[in-house]
């Protein structure tokens, strides 16, 4: 007996409808719109000044000129010194790396303590943290400056690292606490019965499960601290000014001609690190944000 083929009634629904096509057009246009500034920056940095002056902002360069990149990197004048952005990059690294390590570690321990070791007043403390995350930090700049001055670390590398750590604390504590609160509490109980103390449980049980949220925290802190201008300007001191401050000094020239191609190259150089962080870890970022309870 031959097997009868049964077909669904009516035509198969079309996948590509007019609405769909419209949607794709809109998405592509949005993408182009947001890519436009980057495009202009890149082509402008590759033009020479004559071509820029001729005013065709969106045209691709007639003659490729790489003059602006080395200049931005090592020759452009930031104030009275003309060493380009290179020292700024090193300063920014010197500020960002320790700040991120210290603030993320402390945030993780804070969140762990708040989520698992419920001391009296833990909720009040957590509320305080939440509140702290919403206070504009300009309010605290002057008092902090006075404090740092008093203990003698104002205008130094430790000074700016301390400031970044303090300002990162509320939000980091918050995200770590919420992540840990979503872990099954039984794990923590089991670890206590197995004989772990505060730090042992943290290092052996909690940290190995914290990868996704740690990556989220690192991305937040790296971009936040790298892009910071105000705190770096105020607390880092003349010798440790981060890249953002030096970029500003290049762009805001008081003498000579404004070299837009150099400005563009310098800007791209400065944004290289946060861009790289996003491209390399975007997948992890989404995973970390979306991570609910980890299944055992």
């Amino acid at each position: 007996m031959q097997k009868q083929i049964i077909e669904a009634k009516g035509p198969r629904p079309k996948h590509l409808t007019i609405g769909r096509i419209g949607l794709y057009c809109f998405i592509v246009m949005c993408a182009l719109f947001f890519l436009m500034p980057l495009y202009v920056m890149i082509i402008t940095s590759l033009k020479d000044m004559d071509e820029i002056r001729s005013g065709n902002l969106l045209y691709i360069p007639q003659t490729l000129s790489f003059y602006s990149w080395p200049k931005a990197w090592s020759e452009a004048c930031t104030g009275f010194v003309c060493e380009g952005l290179r020292p700024g990059l090193i300063n920014s690294l010197k500020i960002t790396i320790p700040s991120v390590i210290v603030s993320v570690s402390l945030g993780a321990i804070n969140g762990y303590a708040l989520a698992f070791w419920r001391f009296k007043g833990a909720y009040f403390f957590f509320g305080l943290c939440l509140f702290g995350a919403f206070i504009p930090y300009q309010v605290m700049v002057y008092p902090l400056l006075k404090i740092e001055n008093a203990i003698g670390i104002y205008s130094s590398l430790p000074g700016i690292i301390l400031v970044h750590t303090i300002f990162g604390m509320p939000i980091l504590t918050l995200i770590f606490r919420n992540f840990y609160a979503s872990l099954p509490i039984d794990l923590f109980k089991a670890a206590r019965i197995d004989g772990g103390n505060f730090l042992k449980i943290f290092f052996y049980v909690i940290i190995p499960m914290s990868t996704p949220i740690t990556i989220v925290a690192i991305i937040l802190q790296v971009t936040g601290i790298w892009n910071d201008f105000l705190l770096g300007l105020i607390f880092a001191g003349r010798d440790n000014q981060p890249m953002t401050v030096q970029l500003n000094n290049i762009v805001q020239v008081d003498f000579g001609v404004a070299e837009y191609n150099v400005d563009m190259a310098a800007t791209i150089l400065t944004s290289m690190i946060p861009l790289a962080v996003y491209f390399l870890s975007g997948r992890w970022f989404v995973r970390g944000i979306a991570a609910g309870a980890i299944k055992g």
Binding site: K189, R192, D194, G195, Y204, G296
Partner: protein, 357 residues
């Protein structure tokens, strides 16, 4: 026999809510004690207090003669198995098992020996190098039990360990836990809301409600002679049938509407006074069908076949009640039958105090 675990006048509050009220419980050496009750009755809280995971507000906990009220969980000679298994997801099975021993700096050869012994007992040797995420629910729970075994715990605490498993696996692991208890002879405290688990595993069951132990007895006693209405209603599936009526002392019977049931065969603990309100409770299997046409006739209103036996629903003075009969019997909806109550096996309660009389 000495006591393995003693709980004395334990009180525990959560905020302003009293979870456990002045609770006393003695568990004998080697006993399998099941804490049974509906959710929110405080059974898990009690277990957590014994484990030292919650700080109690009042009272004492003594384990193996050692007052451990304020001791850390690790110093209480206990091992605990959780409903969610609580295996460390980043560690292999072997590392999960050895975590406690590594924390107490046990020499490597001893750790290895203990892991071998435990994994052999639980038949998880092949799983030692897997991660918890690569195990099935039943295997995970075995590993969790193994973790308690490896620690040489004197007292095993189980917090609803089988609730996350499917019915078949649950029965399988229930059997294994019972066997484990038989072979090891450790004291075990087991929290569950599943009365089948409680009945099958326990030496004694403590039925709890609102933080108070309602009855503490052997499973048989709890099933056959529940000490109050709550226990009678909570234990047994299908549950006990209840009828509320009056006691007539002149002819020693229970009266409901126009019907009278003779209670001569019932052994009263306290004879109620004449005309007092009482609750007559009878389990579905303590009602039998006879074909005496002179007796009162009941119409079958509903039939629930359950395989081995069948539940048929009748009603008496408009109160529906169930009768358990053999699965092979061939009654149909609407059939008229007459019934007998096995008065020796019924339970009678005072309506006001809800206590057995």
């Amino acid at each position: 026999m000495s006591n393995s675990v003693e709980v004395k006048q334990l009180s525990f509050n959560y905020g302003k809510i009293e979870i456990l009220k002045n609770l006393d419980l003695n568990i004998k050496d080697g006993e399998f004690m099941v804490l049974l009750g509906p959710s929110g009755c405080g059974k898990t809280t009690l277990l957590n207090c014994i484990a030292g995971l919650f700080d109690l507000d009042n009272g004492q906990i003594i384990i193996e003669g050692d007052n451990v009220t304020w001791k850390e969980p690790k110093d209480r000679h206990i091992g605990m198995v959780f409903q969610s298994y609580a295996l460390y997801p980043s560690m292999s099975v072997e590392k999960n098992l050895s975590f406690g021993l590594r924390m107490s700096n046990t020499p490597k050869n001893i750790i290895k020996e203990k892991i071998n012994k435990a994994s052999e007992l639980l038949q998880i040797q092949e799983l030692l190098h897997r991660k918890p995420s690569q195990l099935s629910g039943g295997q995970r729970q075995r590993v969790a039990i193994g973790r308690a075994l490896v620690r040489d715990a004197k007292v095993f605490l189980f917090d609803e360990p089988l609730s996350n498993l499917d019915a078949k696996l649950r029965a399988e692991l229930r059997y294994e836990i019972k066997k484990l208890h038989r072979d090891l002879g450790n004291t075990m405290i087991y929290v569950t809301h599943d009365q089948i688990e409680a009945m099958t595993l326990a030496d004694r069951i403590a039925v709890m409600k609102n933080g108070v132990i309602q009855q503490l007895d052997s499973p048989k006693k709890i099933y056959n002679k529940p000490s109050n209405l709550f226990v009678a209603d909570f234990i047994g599936s299908p549950s006990m049938n209840f009828f509320t009526g009056k006691f007539l002392s002149t002819n020693n019977s229970f009266s409901l509407g126009s019907s009278l049931i003779n209670l001569n065969n019932y052994q009263f603990e306290n004879r109620p006074s004449d005309l007092s309100d009482i609750v007559f409770g009878v389990r579905p299997e303590d009602i039998s069908i006879n074909n005496n046409e002179e007796n009162m006739q009941f119409k079958i209103e509903l039939i629930e076949p359950m395989g081995a036996d069948t539940l048929i629903w009748l009603s008496f003075e408009n109160i529906p009640f169930s009768v358990r009969i053999e699965g092979s019997s061939e009654y149909k909806l609407g059939d008229l039958i007459s019934i007998n109550f096995d008065i020796k096996r019924v339970s009678i309660f005072d309506k006001k105090s809800e206590l057995r009389i």
